[in-house]
């Protein structure tokens, strides 16, 4: 009897198991995907259904496993999407049904190319019947306030006008491409909000007047460029382009679209486009898709060393570290335009456009991790070669100078108020170092131009090019050597990309490790006894380049020979004291005239370190203390101020802040020292100029003959005159220099005699 009951119970349980769907009936499957542009996160899915066995998210697709039966209907709800209902009759045993999840409102792709001063509209297209009667509210959550903002159709349409070219970009070159920085493109972020089934849903939608532009001739296809010229027209175009090639400028089918403020042009195919204006000036553009551009730059006969170091460069690895690491929030969607290659929203073959081809939305990328990304996306993820150099083929030599302009970096680092690096730099004297055309050539270029500082004559801008200052690439090495990269892995980008510059011989032993951040400043703010004068033999293309960067570009110049210290350090056998004196250097530098190049240039670092002076009577080095040598960071320990209201990068204004001075000094400066130095200088050269008009000594003949006591005294005076902040950098040392000089100069200056 007991056994019979057991059989009955077991039979009942078996029937129950089958009835519950636990039998061997085959499952059916529903696979659901969503367009990446909808920015839906399928991980928020809630699947309601009586027969659902399992719900799995796999690479941007939902897989719902269902047991069969009449109650197999299910409903899928995802934040921001229309509910998706799958009816039981659509399912079949062991079969797969595909469904596409529609966003509740479809806002389309980001509008990254609206046009300067142009009106645009954002339409919230309903994805389902419920959305057709849902009200949308808008808030501008980023960017400059829009003109002509109108919201109608219960919030489902927004129209506005982008700011003008003059408002956003301002100046433009006489001829050529107009660089458009991240800030100058006029990006706005508008957030749409609506309520659905008791929940508040928000979506951020972005729009820009223009795509960013580096100002380089390597450009992405399908990206509008802004160009300047007199009646520009297309002279030639590659096969596959639909551009109207004009024989005459007045052809009415111009592909170059004229506009009152600035013309524009869209390269529509890979290849070389030539634009010309009515003066015969030509602009050659090398168009390509990012995804199709080979990354074989590291071939053994090309840039092998750079390619090796670039693999672990903080720029290269930024997306990898972001996806695999601790970056939070809505990363990477907030950062893809600067942590990957290409302009989101455009069909340029960049990261976002290729990710869409794989059906991957930013939320999917976050879950995938960098190393599980498809290989084509890994090639475009991070700030690799193409992010700065652009797609397409290698540009002609004549078009490569723009690479050293700040415009390249500004496509990401000029996005105030959050990223203010370029804004701050533009406020600094560094940005205007070559404003005077006379500084763009000869020895001046070594410290007044970026190409001169780097010793890259091939990148010297053509005559008439706009000044570009000492730009980012002078201090930041985006192609660090392998050793540089390895020494700073894990450090911030700023630290990792700081150029490693040799310490000038004059300052050897005087620069503490705490001042390493400022090593790059030293070579141009320390007088070089061997190569100090604009009339000297030094050339920025010769051995005087301060950074040794030529070695990294494949030039034969070695770091040692490229250093400004080479002249001094080659004084074999001389004592370090004698080696640092201008007299000793002059006597040992046989290739230079003893009276040529003897005026010290930009002496701030020398004053700071208490170095560079010379005993007028003996020619021995006249050293002093360095009371500010212990300031953490060296030069940038104090020169770290810039425009206010910037989130990052304001220190690139390099203005000195006196905030910290009060801890040690009651008085922050001693203007009498400068007046005294200028007085000595003026007396020596019969000059009676006011202080504001006194040019730096290194710019003016006559030169100083440091083989004489009088010349050496003038050298000491010049050191102080060359540094307008000598009293703040090192007042005791400046005073000692002037004291020493005065002992020689005073009787003769009183007699009204000059240097000679």
């Amino acid at each position: 009897m007991t056994r019979a009951w057991q059989l009955v119970v077991l039979g009942f349980l078996g029937a129950l198991h089958v009835a519950c769907g636990g039998g061997t009936a085959p499952s059916s499957y529903v696979v659901i995907d969503a367009a990446p542009e909808g920015a839906l996160d399928l991980a928020t899915a809630k699947v309601d259904g009586a027969s659902v066995r399992a719900v799995t998210l796999s690479d941007g697709k939902l897989v719902v496993e269902q047991s069969g039966g009449e109650d197999a209907s299910l409903t899928i709800r995802v934040d921001g999407a229309c509910p998706l209902h799958v009816d039981a009759k659509d399912l079949s045993p062991a079969g797969t049904v595909r469904r596409h999840l529609a966003p509740f409102f479809d806002f389309g792709k980001p509008r990254m190319d609206v046009g300067f001063g142009k009106a645009f509209e954002l339409v919230a297209r309903p994805g389902c019947a419920d959305a057709e009667h849902t009200r949308v509210t808008w808030n501008q959550t980023g960017g400059r306030a829009l003109d002509g903002l109108v919201i109608d159709h219960e919030g489902r349409r927004l129209t506005a006008t982008m700011p003008s070219f003059a408002t956003l970009v301002g100046g433009k070159p006489d001829f050529g491409l107009v660089p458009v920085s991240a800030g100058a493109r006029g990006e706005v972020e508008l957030t749409a909000t609506w309520m659905y089934q008791g929940r508040t849903v928000t979506r951020a939608v972005r729009a820009s007047a223009a795509a960013r532009a580096r100002g380089l001739p390597n450009v992405a296809v399908n990206t509008r460029l802004y160009v300047v010229g007199d009646e520009l027209h297309v002279q030639s175009a590659p096969d596959g382009s639909h551009a109207a090639v004009q024989a005459e400028p007045d052809d009415s089918h111009a592909k170059v679209e004229a506009a009152p403020d600035v013309a524009s042009f869209v390269p529509d195919a890979p290849g070389v486009f030539t634009l010309a204006d009515r003066h015969g000036r030509t602009l050659r553009l090398f168009a390509g898709r990012y995804e199709d551009t080979p990354l074989d730059c590291g071939r053994s006969d090309c840039h092998a060393e750079i390619a090796v170091s670039a693999r672990s460069n903080p720029m290269t690895t930024i997306l990898q570290r972001g996806l695999d690491g601790p970056f939070a929030g809505d990363y990477p969607s907030c950062a893809l335009e600067c942590h990957a290659v290409g302009e989101p929203g455009l069909d340029d073959g960049g990261f976002v456009s290729v990710a869409a081809r794989f059906g991957l939305a930013p939320a999917d990328l976050r879950r995938t991790g960098f190393h599980d990304l498809p290989a084509p996306l890994r090639r475009l993820g991070g700030v690799g070669c193409l992010a700065c150099h652009g797609p397409g083929t290698i540009a002609e030599p004549g078009g490569r100078d723009a690479l050293l302009r700040a415009d390249v970096c500004a496509t990401c680092h000029d996005a105030p108020p959050r990223y203010g690096h370029v804004v701050a730099w533009k406020s600094s004297r560094m940005a205007h170092s070559d404003a005077d055309p006379r500084t763009r050539d000869g020895a001046c270029a070594r410290c007044h131009t970026t190409w001169g500082f780097l010793g890259e004559r091939a990148r010297k801008p053509p005559e008439g090019a706009a000044p570009s200052g000492i730009a980012c690439a002078a201090c930041h090495s985006v192609h660090p050597t392998k050793a540089e990269t390895e020494s700073v892995i894990g450090a911030t980008c700023a630290a990792a990309l700081r150029r490693e510059t040799p310490i000038p011989a004059l300052l050897e032993g005087a620069v503490p490790a705490s001042a390493d951040k400022s090593r790059t400043c030293l070579s141009c703010h320390t007088p070089d006894p061997a190569n100090a004068s604009p009339t000297g033999s030094a050339s920025p293309t010769g051995s005087a380049a301060p950074t040794g960067s030529a070695a990294s570009t494949g030039s034969a110049a070695s770091t040692a020979s490229a250093s400004p210290t080479a002249g001094a350090s080659s004084t074999a056998g001389a004592s370090s004291t004698a080696g640092r004196s201008p007299a000793a250097s002059a006597s040992s530098t046989t290739s230079a005239s003893p009276t040529a190049g003897r005026s010290p240039a930009a002496s701030a670092a020398a004053l700071w370190a208490g170095r560079g002076g010379v005993e007028p009577g003996t020619g021995a080095a006249l050293d002093g203390g360095s009371p500010h040598g212990a300031v953490a960071g060296g030069c940038v320990g104090c020169h770290a101020s810039g425009p206010t209201g910037l989130g990052r990068g304001s220190g690139h204004g390099f203005a000195a802040s006196s905030d910290g001075c009060a801890t040690c000094h009651a008085a922050k400066s001693d203007p009498s020292l400068r007046a005294r130095a200028l007085g000595l200088w003026a007396a020596a050269f019969h000059s009676n100029l006011p202080e504001s008009a006194t040019p730096p000594p290194h710019t003016m003949p006559p030169e100083i003959d440091t083989t004489t006591a009088r010349g050496r005294a003038l050298w000491d005076v010049a050191l102080v005159v060359e540094d307008p902040a000598a009293d703040r950098h090192n007042a005791p040392y400046a005073r000692a220099l002037l004291d020493a000089a005065e002992r020689v100069l005073s009787p003769r200056t009183r007699a009204g005699k000059g240097n000679r």
Binding site: A19, V52, D59, A307, A310, T316, H371, R379
Partner: protein, 259 residues
């Protein structure tokens, strides 16, 4: 009558019991699992095995032809039109959606095009289709890209190049096809305007996994086993015959003796 009522009552009670016992509400929400690979531990009993076309082959010295076909099992659904690929062998075998690493084909008439075709890794490669087997050579590391993972579908080896080039050769015995079946398709890589792979329907195209009775029914370099044209166990080392000392290069491996 009484019996009928009792029967009806019994059915009602049983239905209620079943519903209650199952504990199902009409609507319920299941937790969501994240999964990118599906274990297939019982796909085969021994290694080495690999997907070959839409089949699964294992190589063994005990086989007369050196290779035989085993049952290929994949998840009962499809995430993409490319289907699944089984990576790993034996107990580590697992199925992954091919669409993870390569986009689906877009068809226009008889020609289907895959942008960004599957390559061995993110490096610089030149590839070609031979009888529905893809062979690539090159592999220089891409400049400005962090080191990345290789595609599990490729088997790679150093190229025995006579010109001293430090290249690799990689072989994919089961390249992507528009419908997941290689037979009846002729595919080729085209690098003229960005790398793409075009497949065209062609009933005359010779393919690995074609039915066969002897090796002469198969493309040169394939053997006939289990009634199908199959490749020998790949040992990638060559791109051209010149790379092989005294043999020929077939499907990336030096095979046979031409004499």
């Amino acid at each position: 009558m009484t019996l009928s009522v009792l029967r009806q009552s019994f059915h009602v009670v049983m239905a209620l019991v079943v519903l209650t016992a199952c504990g199902r509400a009409p609507e319920r929400v299941l937790p969501l699992a994240i999964q990118t690979a599906w274990p297939m531990p019982d796909v085969e009993e021994r290694a080495p095995c690999a997907d070959v076309g839409d089949l699964r082959a294992c190589w063994s010295a005990s086989d007369a032809a050196g290779v035989h076909i085993v049952t290929r099992r994949t998840p009962p659904f499809a995430l993409s039109s490319l289907g699944f690929r089984i990576i790993g062998t034996g107990k580590t075998a697992r199925a992954v959606d091919r669409g993870r690493a390569a986009p689906e084909f877009v068809c226009d008439g008889d020609v289907c095009r895959q942008a960004h075709p599957r390559l061995p890794d993110d490096g610089e490669w030149e590839c070609a289709d031979f009888a529905a087997i893809v062979v690539c050579h090159g592999g220089a590391a891409p400049a400005g890209v962090p080191p990345g993972a290789s595609d599990a579908g490729y088997v790679c080896g150093p190229r025995h190049s006579r010109d001293g080039k430090a290249e690799r050769v990689c072989v994919d015995l089961s390249p992507d096809t528009p419908k997941g079946i290689a037979r009846g398709e002729r595919c080729r890589f085209d690098a003229e305007n960005g790398l793409v792979r075009d497949c065209r329907k062609d009933g005359t195209a010779q393919s690995v996994t074609d039915p066969c009775r002897t090796a002469t029914d198969c493309a040169s370099g394939l053997v006939c086993a289990s009634g199908r044209c199959l490749p020998p166990l790949p040992a990638p080392s060559c791109w051209a015959d010149n790379d092989c000392d005294k043999s020929s290069c077939r499907f990336g491996s030096c095979v046979g003796d031409p004499t």
